[in-house]
């Protein structure tokens, strides 16, 4: 079974802090994704990566950056956390479009 793990289930940070969310997948998938999930808005794509060091912006990239130095690991970085970035963050991986995405358990981030 594909396993996607995220570094933290719950995280509390202060406004202005730099925040790192990490995601690791164990199935050698090419594609990895970061979404945020907010009530009533569904899942919105922040960034995705289709190869090591390759990335593309999704629907809501503002305020975020990403890093993919190894195939199995995809990091989401909040350069200066703000309260409007309080959300559930979900990482996913997929073996090539248009195949199914496998999601991690999510990180609930609270920025105070």
């Amino acid at each position: 079974d594909v396993k996607v793990t995220q570094s933290s289930r719950y995280l509390v940070k202060r406004t202005g802090e730099k925040v790192f969310l990490e995601c690791v997948q164990d199935m050698d998938h090419e594609n990895m994704f970061w979404y945020r999930q907010d009530p009533g808005l569904g899942l919105r794509l922040i960034y995705f990566s289709y190869d090591v060091k390759m990335k593309e912006k999704g629907d809501i990239p503002e305020g975020y950056s990403v890093s993919r130095e190894k195939k199995e690991r995809f990091s989401l970085i909040l350069e200066s956390a703000s309260t409007n970035q309080t959300s559930m963050y979900l990482c996913a991986s997929a073996d090539g479009f248009p195949y199914e995405q496998y999601f991690g358990p999510g990180t609930r981030l609270t920025v105070t």
Binding site: F33, L43, L45, E56, D59, Q101, F103
Partner: protein
């Protein structure tokens, strides 16, 4: 660009049927369906591709009308385990043009 799902919520009794719809204003290459149970990660149900190909894990059926840019998910003889929020995701060909809907919350009662 985000697809529109309907209904937003539905309550069923075990054994009843339901249909969840997903529509887009854009021409679609694929439609994905996922289910998320409370407190858990979304889980893949089915992919429908332009041209008729389908790929799914469960005994859940769906349709994809390419001309109307619509998809429907059919839940027949519902079970308690079907409860959760269902999301459709629509793609125009690339992941940077892939969007999830806001979800349909399904509650199956005994």
């Amino acid at each position: 660009q985000q697809p529109v799902q309907s209904p937003q919520a539905v309550i069923l009794r075990e054994g009843e049927d339901a249909v969840i719809n997903c529509s887009s204003s854009k021409a679609l290459y694929s439609v994905h369906w996922y289910r998320q149970k409370h407190g858990e990660a979304p889980v893949f149900l089915m992919i429908l591709l332009k041209g008729g190909e389908q790929k799914g894990h469960e005994k859940i059926s769906a349709s994809f009308n390419e001309k109307k840019q619509q998809s429907s998910l059919y839940l027949t003889a519902s079970q308690l385990s079907y409860s959760g929020t269902y999301f459709c995701g629509t793609g125009e060909g690339n992941f940077n043009k892939f969007y999830f809907g806001s979800g349909t919350k399904l509650n199956v009662k005994p």
